[in-house]
């Protein structure tokens, strides 16, 4: 679920309450902001531990910014997404590419196991395809097609125009289709030649 689906003004009020010493405000904000931020970080980095580090750092910056946060300066969610995306970019540029692990062999053929394996294979295929995209296209597709954010908010997060977001997302989708071409049968989609 995207951060944006929660009340933006509610987030700012919670942040103000946190800054004034309300201890429960932090837990409410964490419950609201962390899961979608973590989802984005995982999609951008493809690594859960790294994604957790990024989101923790982003939240730490949010706690620091709370006392001087000005209502109306930006949506809290947009601000947090922007920090997460920038931190992911920094990490992505620094790290050495690692080969992705193949799916482990699982001889278990219990009912439901095949469906779970296929779902996992699809998720990994999407993630692998996402990682073949140029950085900005990757970010635009994750924020728009998976997180479901509106283009103006994505433009604010990425610091580009709305038209640029549309272009990045369209090119990203084309890139994904190309990366996934020929894998329809393997991933259990019908009508594959």
């Amino acid at each position: 679920m995207a951060l944006d689906s929660q009340s933006p003004s509610g987030d700012a009020e919670l942040l103000a309450r946190y800054a004034s010493g309300d201890r429960t405000a932090a837990s409410v904000l964490t419950a609201r902001l962390v899961p979608p931020a973590l989802a984005v970080a995982q999609r951008l980095l493809g690594d859960r531990a790294e994604a957790e580090d990024v989101v923790q750092e982003a939240m730490l910056r949010l706690w620091r910014a709370a006392p001087t946060w000005e209502v109306g300066q930006a949506r809290v969610s947009t601000w947090l997404y922007r920090v997460v995306v920038n931190l992911c970019t920094d990490r992505f540029r620094r790290r050495v590419p690692q080969p992705r692990d193949d799916l482990p062999d699982r001889p278990d053929t219990a009912p439901g196991q095949e469906a779970r394996l296929q779902a996992q294979a699809r998720a990994e295929a999407l993630q692998s395809a996402l990682e073949t995209l140029p950085e900005r296209q990757h970010q635009a597709v994750v924020l728009r097609d998976i997180e479901g954010l509106p283009n103006p908010q994505i433009a604010e997060i990425l610091g580009v125009s709305v038209e640029a977001v549309e272009s990045l997302a369209a090119r990203g989708r084309r890139g994904l289709k190309q990366a996934l071409s020929g894998r329809q049968a393997e991933l259990g989609f019908k009508d594959d030649a």
Partner: protein, 140 residues
């Protein structure tokens, strides 16, 4: 036949594009349906940071058993928070010192007792300058 072949290729291409679109939409939908589900220990780290970074709330001072033992420290602490807290003790001290100084001056000039005043320099000066007033001063 060439046309048929081209049409056939075109239809296959369109079909392939539709299938690719459909597959992509399906993959996106499945990704959206999979929540990030943060681990409890990760959330605890976030909350620990929040607690460490949180500005202190207005804390109610606990009731002390010996409230008057360290008045100076309380005044100092209050002054650290608000300088206005220093006004009344400083004013009180200044008033007391002024009283002591004026009292000494009055004693030296004979304002504390009549006989003392009669022997003071001030009384002599008054008697010399204003002989009419000498009768009002005892001893002249």
């Amino acid at each position: 036949m060439m046309h048929d072949g081209k049409d056939s290729d075109g239809r296959r291409g369109e079909l392939g594009a539709l299938e690719a679109d459909s597959m992509l939409e399906q993959l996106f939908a499945e990704a959206r349906a999979t929540p990030a589900d943060p681990r409890p220990e990760f959330l605890e780290r976030i909350m620990a940071d929040a607690a460490a970074m949180q500005p202190q709330a207005d804390v109610v001072e606990p009731v002390r058993d010996r409230p008057a033992k360290n008045l100076l420290r309380q005044v100092g602490a209050a002054a650290a928070r608000r300088w206005e807290a220093l006004v009344w003790p400083v004013g009180l001290a200044a008033t007391a010192l002024s009283g002591v100084w004026l009292g000494g001056w009055a004693d030296l000039n004979g304002f504390v007792s009549g006989s003392g005043f009669a022997g003071s320099d001030l009384a002599m000066s008054l008697a010399y300058g204003f002989p009419q007033a000498a009768g009002l001063i005892g001893g002249y």
